[in-house]
Symmetry: D3
Subunit: 217 residues, 6 copies
């Protein structure tokens, strides 16, 4: 199944707040990625299918600077493999002591037409990345190279990110509040109902601005 | 006892740093709300008496989306009850995994003349709230609706917020450093001495800018 | 050994990301100060030798407001002792519940020609400090005076800061990603190799902007 | 509604593991009290209705040793009020830096026929309490008196304990794994189905001990 | 490569303390599994090759009690697949809010001749497991069934456990201090040198018991 | 000033719970060492003056196994310097990822007549240490050698241990609840009043065992 143009367009207009409400109504209470924030709030909205990359802790004898000479290194290969329009989501076990990427890798992803990046680890060159016209979410700036704490092990497998399950193909949506994962199956319906909900909330907000109470709303 | 106009005016001019010093001199060492920050540093200074709202963890069978149809729901009732000029202070047990409010509720509070909001939980629609001319402090943006983790249980009872005791009627003061709780009883005296302290510190700062040492100050 | 002008100049041009890579190549994996961030990203780059100040937890009978009348108080003495061009690095045990300094002390340090400040505790008057043309890194704004939680005990001894060992004379370098500690001994070599590495990365970035893959880089 | 003898008896025979499974089947995923453990694993099983006591952070001017001379002090009054057969459950905000009780108070509760105690704070005189024939769960031993960090504020109100909502009258069940809260309404049914589940699991365990696979069980 | 009988025997006689020293000498500083402890200190020593099982966070629509009817469910399949003599090592992201196994599954593993279990999550039926003659390490007792927070996703892939990288086939050694992971490649040499080190330390200990100083040892 | 025999004897009979109450009455609220527990609850009570040892984070180039060949290494020298009857208190920044000592060093301390050990780091060979007739408190068992995370830097300086200030010469008292630091100056008076308090509490406990209420006590 692929993300339809209509659903993509709808998801780009609704907030992550609205989407968590729609998911909650369907019994899904744990799909907001915890402890990540946008590096560049001015970037376009993030919408796209998840392409995942998984790290485990580094080991000194395996994770030395020579590894990147191998064109098959999973991190480098993942970066060259994410399809345009998809979102690279990285599982760093919530450990921001080291970076999971930097200016060059993020620029390459943007050049390749990737929709954006979400990581529960750190990112280096944060100021440089924040200046890109590219939506990026992370646990915070962190200069140390990934090899200091992270070993890229495989990609496009189900992962954890920010305490949330992410399956390849899930729809990733980000705004200034953060990132929500919308499972594939209900994505079309969730998008449609979210648009409807926001229409109603726009009306309520106008009433509230005009002085109406929020009791019973 | 109510907050006098003079004390309110004085508290609006002094920093939370100065107030913690005055409280420390009176043996009160734990009245700075930990882990909250202003959503909008450009908002006016926060000063007002505390009106409290308490949440406990949510339970799936009790906390469903239908609850808001009840006009007596404690969160909604609290929002319609905070007197103008007072500050809504929420106890979310420091849990920012879900929001304790969003754009509509915060706008309603602003419309009602409430002085501001402090929560040790999250807030959704953070960018929208940050654009209001209304001082708001929270643990960070968080999209999930409050029902995902929080159950509003009662209001205007003593609570914990950010590790600090807050009694209804305590005076809440916020600036860019954060929020301090000034107990009712010594509030007038604390305000007066704080103004005096700042007068002296302004003098010291000028001396320091002119090259004076800070030894023995 | 003192920091040479050339090394200082080189270190001011390279990123902390690059420096952590150079240190990693030399087997040094834990020299990025965790959980501190710049109060003023617009300030000049931070470079200078470390002058350290150590705090232990406060004790109510020892740490009262009268202590600052003593011109030999270690915090005040340290502030008047840091040589111009050096960086004051403070060990607050990562505890940001109280400030380790404020507007007046930081202004005095700037007036004295100190190169900047790094603390793993909090700082009060954060907005005021952020407006100074002076690089300052801390765990976050925190209004309570240092005596509430911190007792200055000695200075220019080896300390921990943000989980990292800092020896007096180590070179402290900060940019928007954060702060890295470069040990004295390899500092000249690290600086030289870092400049070289950035030259290469500038080339790679241009290639990447032109569409080149990052496989094997 | 009160806890029937039959349900009480059934709950005393089944494990908290089984009860969490029964609650999970009913959509209740968050009723196991986190971070508490039995002080005396040799004590009888804990079963009884919850009688709650709530603490907020202490304030130095309010929480001095003189407060206990007041016979209406909420902690002391709560201890004398819990009905025999019920369980005192205390909300200490998960803060074990101070005790929420000690040998004398716990002995008094035992003498009064209270069924047991659960607190997400600490307990002092832990060795003495562990020797009582009385089931007690806490976050760990902690010598400082409650006034150092906790202010008893009210009782028999809904509280949080170990991240879980506890309503007065909920059924509290504890074994060596820890404590689970069984809401009143489904308690009879949960107890009945738990007994049934354990009957089946006893059979499975015998099969497994005899060499059977657990695939599809 | 397989674990030789001689190395297995040697590793069963040396402490995890000694093994971390040998690994440290080889530049491997992060192979002690953090935050796990033995459920039964009286059990035999743990030695065996790692067979890994990975969990990600649960999702309510996927992780319902019906999943165990599927004989291909990864957790159940893993338990039936671990070869005798190997150790099941589980990656629960350090989250002990739910169990990663209980009495029946652990008994099945013991019956199958598995060497032991290590998990950085919780275990239910902890008292029952502690009575088995079977070495088991976990983050603590935790009653809730795994589906409440954990989704078994795949096995025999590299994982993280307690902050440490674990590759299938690494040698897992446990004693009362905890668990260390010895990578395959240097395992024979590490075992041999560890035996030698302990011979020397036994001598030193006798000297120390006889009154000798530890300066320069 | 030295610890009198009478005070030492008194302190060995009263509980840490009682001592925290006496300190609280004197305005000292933060002298209970957090997050340490006795390795051997069967050991004699711990009483003695503090002799401190401070660690900072390790650096790979400085902290290699060769350092212990230096008889002036601060850890080894401290162990040979603690006067008999005093307590070695170690500041490990609360980091238990590595040991701050093991069986040989602790045995040496016991042989030298040292009164006991308190560390907020880990200890290796925990089972061996627990079997000594020697009171030892730590954050938990931890196999990795100290050099993996800790660098011994100086001794007999004021330190932090478990969040508490410890000055050389302070009196350290431990029981099964944990460890409290009694400052030198009021130690005699605190000991005397603690004995008196326990006499009263023994009376109250007898009354309570006989059925008396705790209201107003």
């Amino acid at each position: 199944m692929t993300l339809s143009d209509q659903t993509r367009t709808s998801l780009a207009t609704v907030s992550t707040a609205t989407l968590t409400t729609q998911l909650f109504k369907r019994g899904l209470r744990n799909l907001f990625v915890q402890n990540v924030r946008p590096l560049n709030p001015a970037a376009p909205r993030l919408v796209g299918e998840a392409f995942t990359l998984r790290y485990i802790p580094a080991r000194e004898d395996i994770d030395h600077v020579g590894v990147f000479q191998d064109p098959e290194h999973p991190q480098r290969k993942a970066i060259e493999t994410v399809p345009p329009g998809q979102v690279l989501v990285m599982d760093c076990r919530g450990d921001a002591r080291a970076a999971s990427g930097g200016g060059i890798l993020l620029t390459r992803l943007m050049m390749r037409g990737v929709a954006g990046v979400v990581t529960d680890g750190g990112l280096r060159d944060a100021a440089e990345i924040a200046a890109l016209d590219f939506p990026v979410y992370c646990a915070g700036p962190s200069a140390p190279l990934n090899l200091a704490h992270h070993h890229a092990v495989d990609f496009n497998q189900p992962i954890a990110c920010g305490g949330v399950p992410v399956y390849p193909g899930d729809v990733v949506v980000g705004d200034t509040d953060g990132v929500v994962i919308v499972p594939q199956e209900p994505a079309d319906e969730v998008a449609r109902d979210a648009v409807e909900q926001e229409r109603f909330e726009t009306f309520v907000m106008e009433e509230v601005r005009g002085g109406r109470s929020i009791r019973g709303v």
